[in-house]
Symmetry: C2
Subunit: 224 residues, 2 copies
């Protein structure tokens, strides 16, 4: 199967951590995509195979050998967990399934707020600075802070084995460290202690964020 | 269980259609929330029970009697389908599950683009108009158009019985009609023919969008 990625995307990282935890690295062809910084506010040119993989035009996108196209990180993680992972990252049924997916859904809210903050900042650096809204960025930061506070309460219930909830949370903590100047650890000591252990896993070490490849923008010059 | 809603949200509508299709209206307490138009770019005041239900601060949010908190529409639909619907809206395993979830994930991309367009427009009418980005709105419209084109290809494969994919697509078509001046039917005749039949279902009739309740904004005057 083919997975379209960039190395800076935390939504991609959820999928890549899951691939390592399930142990199917050799089954997945990783295809890099490039994103000029104008992605924050404009449609950017897509490579043809990526455009064919997903009409949404976001990463990650998965295309399986039997032609299934999945175009959001949580559905891709569920697919890999069910079809390759024997449900080891989340049970198929029952209360533990919903406990884990409730963690995933809070982590996804946090990840979406981080992406929206990043996109808003790109109006300043790569777009039309007057279109930047400090209010909107603050709204996203406040959502992020509420999610971190909720995850701090939940961290003591995280199991000893990795699951889809922990994987999503780890991707969020990782991008806070990599992309933002956020000082999140002091307010969430239990979460920070959990994360600083979890990040030592081989699946985390193998997927540490790196800068997104860019390419010359065909629409307007990318300033940074 | 308690479901936090507004009558204009298409993400809420996915859940409410599912509730009607499963036949559990009497099991769900519907709690209205209010959203001043500043929601597009500011954190708005939350009622205490809603803040307790979800740190993300978005609707829908579900709180079950045994204390499960789910804070995104797709997870809530999966929960209701599994725990109350005997998987009639999506099988628990197998190829048909992934076919349906691939439709859901494209529809969700479309729904998110619609919400982002709406939020951007609110900068014009309720916020600081210079912060409006026509580029960003166009990016979201182009995503929406790509998703509609993909769904046009998929519509002939929609089954005779409703499923979570069709429900998500119907919510997207419905909000295009209700909220936007989008003329989508001419470019997607197969999808339009399907939707104009599907929208006659009692579950659709019972959940037609209505304007979101607003309240006096404590931060700045809402202009429209």
């Amino acid at each position: 199967m083919k997975l379209f990625v960039t190395p800076a995307s935390s939504f991609v990282r959820k999928v890549r951590i899951s691939i390592f935890e399930i142990g199917i690295e050799s089954e997945v062809e990783i295809i890099q995509t490039r994103w000029p910084h104008t992605w924050g506010f404009q449609t950017v040119p897509f490579r043809a195979d990526f455009a064919e993989a997903t009409p949404v035009g976001r990463i990650p996108a998965l295309v399986t050998d039997d032609g299934i196209h999945l175009t959001d990180s949580s559905t891709i993680c569920e697919y890999l967990n069910a079809e390759y992972g024997d449900y080891r990252l989340c049970p198929a049924v029952g209360a533990e399934r919903w406990r884990i997916l409730s963690v995933v859904s809070i982590a996804n809210g946090l990840l979406e707020a981080q992406v929206a903050r990043r996109a808003e900042k790109l109006r300043l650096s790569a777009g039309n600075p007057i279109e930047y809204s400090a209010d909107f960025e603050r709204k996203m930061l406040e959502r992020q802070q509420r999610c971190y506070a909720a995850l701090e309460e939940m961290a003591p219930s995280f199991g000893a084995a990795p699951d889809l909830g922990q994987i999503a949370v780890a991707a969020a903590c990782g991008i806070s460290d990599f992309r933002f100047a956020d000082v999140w650890r002091p307010d969430t000591p239990q979460l920070a202690a959990w994360y600083d252990r979890f990040r030592e896993r081989p699946s985390m070490r193998a997927t540490e964020p790196q800068e997104t490849p860019t390419e010359p923008d065909r629409v307007m010059p990318a300033a940074s």
